[in-house]
């Protein structure tokens, strides 16, 4: 075997190698995304089609008034997220975002465990300029009603 390929062949081999790697990356990405992307749910979605337990999802809605309770350890909280049609109990252990209060909008990242949504992270509505985008539509369409109902 000669050590050096002819120029045309060398180019062909390089192009094929690069294509194979890029297609591999694309397939790998498609496969991993189908398993790992976490979908956004509102409470009625969870009531209608609950995600499989343990799958990472995001839950968005309003924190129901009067539902927020702090556990004796001081850092675990329980509250209910609602969109006015369905209610999902949420458990979160950690420091809550600054603007997290009852009646405000929230996006929780976590998973369903039994009937409870266990949140790893809470994103609260920050101020008018920096709203989590998933909540923008909701605040326009439903949030006012929701707040009115839960007041």
């Amino acid at each position: 075997m000669t050590a050096l390929l002819r120029p045309k062949h060398q180019r062909l081999v390089l192009v094929l190698f690069a294509l194979a790697a890029l297609i591999g990356a694309g397939l790998l990405a498609a496969f991993a995304l189908s398993r790992q992307a976490s979908f956004f749910y509102i409470p009625s979605d969870i009531a209608a089609h609950p995600p499989e337990p343990g799958r990472a999802v995001r839950l968005g809605g309003m924190v129901q008034k009067g539902s927020l309770k702090t556990m004796p350890d001081g850092v675990t909280i329980h509250f209910t997220v609602t969109d006015g049609k369905a209610w999902v109990p949420v458990r979160f252990t950690g420091i809550t975002p600054d603007l997290f209060v009852e009646g405000s909008g929230v996006v929780a990242e976590g998973r369903m465990e039994g009937g409870t949504f266990v949140a790893d992270n809470l994103l609260a509505k920050h101020d008018e300029k920096y709203v989590p985008r998933e909540m923008k539509n909701m605040t326009e369409n439903d949030a006012k009603q929701v707040v009115a109902q839960t007041k």
Binding site: K8, A18, A29, Q36, A56, G74, V75, I95, R133
Partner: protein
């Protein structure tokens, strides 16, 4: 007055950019050759004018001119001076002006100092640079004028988002922008070379310092941005795979690949079309990043422009610039002849492997970043995070690191790993590989809970670090050229950063607690006690400051002061974490809220070896700087020698 002056300067600069484009293109034809002398001065003048316009905007912010809309919306008279200056680019219009300023100054530098490239290619390059700039000038002047006045001056400014009121903001965006925009020069060089069909070692030699410079700034910018997110966001993480972070990572990946392929083109005249392609891709990634960050498609502190018109404008610019470049590439790639050949076992082959793996990671990151945007167009909202990015990127990164251990030791063109010289080269690599294997087995054996990825990361980092020093073996260290030192330092930096990342992910200890005054907790090897709580005030904020005494297993206690700050203009809060760094890691303390029963929520992390992430990043950047310095010095020596020869010849009357 200053606002009008700034606007006028900006218009003049835009006009000069148009002139530069027209004259530069005409100079490529035989009839227009006479115009060629004009292009360089025009490019320099354009740089100076837009720099003056940027200076005018900074002046407006420093004096808090409340008749200017941008100042009113983003500044406040009570802000400290440094944040008034940094506030200039802490908003959409100002950051876009900074973008064109850096772009024009980059072009001016090319015009001033680039002497080794052939004249037609340089003309085409400067014309290309003017073309890209012109798009951004139009964007600034018609869709985001930074100098717009208010009909009636405001009473007081609205201030800057508290998250942005940090010393990091003063340096992080300019650093990253120099990186992004530096790649525009590589892009213009690629266009220039395609136009004149002159792709070869001379072109690579001219392009390389610009790529290297941009890459150094990108590296440092990403490293600094990561540290900034780590200590201001108070989430204890250093990388979130946030689209904004990905937007800076993607150009870096492309620029890293470009840097390596340019070296092949320069030394061996191979990988011609591939290098030009990477030049186009690298800046395209900068543009995609800008589009993602600035269009308002994403929500973050970086998304200033929520105006959909602006998003559409940037998208149009993106389509014109990238589409045009790719069309040119398709037309001309066939005429770029094949480069020199190389064998399967050679340094070129190792660098090709590195390039392809980097492009694989780039593909993974790009797809993961765009996927949520695509699904959202179909009404499905998803978010993609670490569970996707980490393993998928590692599939490409780890093989690349393996090849990195041996690549720098191989000879150009053709090398043999059998026989005595081959064995002499291979056995140190085998020692490193054995070390990596030992670390892997040790980690898996000693700590069972550690996931596969961090364990692999620790192992590869332990093998890669000594292996990256091997190119120095058998060399006279005092006579080793600076670029070799640079490469060794940068490769070692990758190993150091990888070790930090893997260690952080494998060994972090997190404690969340509600503490009353005087209460204690154990955090890994640390013993922490909440001593007191004190209200304090700054120029435009008030804060609660906790006193936490911490003691590392037997060492002397250290008092830390995490703060929860409240800003008044605009209203907002920020948790300032407190950090205690030891040689073997960092303790990270965040103050939360007061619970109903009077206890304070506190969050603690013990992160072994986490500072290595940023030390490694800095090493990579400094390695790049050494390589660049070496090149500049040798260039200066060459010029001096040339002048000496010319001088002697003159004296001898030849």
């Amino acid at each position: 007055m200053i606002a009008e002056l700034g606007l006028a300067l900006l218009w003049m600069a835009a006009a000069l950019a148009a002139l530069q484009l027209v004259v530069g293109s005409l100079a490529l034809r035989a009839e227009g050759r006479a115009l060629a002398g004009m292009v360089r001065p025009v490019a320099v003048m354009q740089g100076l004018l837009v720099l003056a316009a940027f200076g005018a905007l900074i002046t407006l912010f420093v004096t808090t001119d409340l008749s200017v809309k941008l100042v009113v919306e983003n500044s406040h008279s009570a802000k400290p001076l440094i944040f008034k200056i940094a506030g200039t680019w802490g908003n959409h219009e100002g950051s876009m002006l900074m973008w064109v300023t850096i772009m024009a100054i980059g072009g001016a530098f090319v015009a001033l100092i680039e002497r080794r490239l052939d004249e037609p290619t340089l003309m085409a390059t400067l014309a290309g640079q003017a073309f890209i700039s012109l798009g951004f000038y139009v964007f600034l002047l018609f869709a985001s004028n930074p100098f717009a006045r208010l009909a009636t001056p405001a009473e007081e400014g609205q201030g800057l988002n508290p998250l942005l009121q940090d010393i990091g903001l003063a340096f992080h965006p300019p650093t990253l922008y120099i990186g992004y925009v530096g790649l525009s020069i590589a892009f213009s060089f690629a266009i220039g070379a395609l136009v004149t069909r002159n792709v070869g070692p001379a072109f690579a030699r001219a392009m390389r310092p610009w790529v290297l410079g941009a890459w150094i700034f990108l590296t440092l910018g990403i490293t600094a941005g990561s540290y900034w997110a780590y200590y201001t966001l108070g989430w204890g993480g250093w990388w979130f795979w946030d689209p904004v972070e990905n937007a800076s990572l993607m150009p870096w990946l492309a620029a890293t690949a470009l840097l390596h392929s340019v070296s092949v083109l320069q030394s061996r005249d191979a990988l011609r079309a591939w290098t030009v392609m990477l030049g186009v891709v690298a800046f395209s990634m900068s543009m995609v990043g800008t589009f993602l960050v600035r269009s308002g498609i994403l929500t973050s502190v970086h998304a200033f422009a929520v105006d959909p018109q602006r998003g559409a404008f940037i998208l149009a610019l993106l389509a014109i610039d990238i589409g045009g470049a790719l069309a040119l590439f398709t037309l001309r790639a066939g005429t770029v002849t094949e480069g020199a050949r190389f064998a399967f076992v050679s340094r070129e082959a190792a660098l090709v492997f590195n390039n392809v793996m980097l492009c694989g990671i780039l593909g993974i990151v790009l797809i993961g970043t765009l996927y949520p945007l695509v699904t959202e167009a179909y009404g499905v909202k998803v978010s993609v995070g670490a569970p996707y990015f980490n393993p998928a990127a590692a599939m490409f990164a780890f093989p690349m690191f393996a090849v990195m251990t041996v690549g720098p030791l191989l000879r150009w063109r053709h090398d043999r790993l059998s026989g005595l010289p081959g064995r002499r080269k291979l056995w140190p690599v085998l020692v490193c590989a054995t070390l990596a294997l030992a670390v892997f087995i040790g980690v898996e054996w000693a700590a069972h809970r550690i996931n596969l990825l961090p364990a692999l990361g620790l192992a590869i980092a332990s093998g890669l670090f000594p292996a990256s020093l091997l190119p120095l073996k058998g060399r006279n260290l005092r006579r080793t050229p600076l670029p070799v030192w640079g490469m060794v330092l940068a490769h070692a930096g990758i190993a150091v950063a990888l070790f930090g990342m893997a260690s952080e992910s494998a060994f972090s200890v997190e404690r969340l607690a509600a503490l009353s005054l005087g209460a204690s907790r154990e955090v890994g090897p640390w013993h922490v006690t909440l001593d007191g709580m004190m209200p304090i005030a700054g120029p435009n904020w008030t804060a609660l400051e906790a006193s936490v005494s911490t003691r590392y297993a037997g060492a002397a206690p250290v008092v830390l002061h995490p703060k929860a700050e409240s800003f008044s203009n605009p209203p907002g809060t920020r948790n300032e974490s407190a950090l205690e760094t030891r040689w073997n890691g960092q303790l990270y303390v965040v103050l939360g809220e007061q619970a109903g029963d009077g206890r304070w929520q506190m969050r603690f992390w013990w992160k072994p070896f986490v500072p290595l992430i940023w030390i490694g990043g800095a090493m990579v950047g400094i390695g790049g700087a050494l390589a660049l310095l070496g090149r500049v010095l040798s260039e200066i020596r060459r010029l001096v020698a040339k002048d000496k020869i010319a001088y002697r010849r003159m004296r001898q009357g030849r």
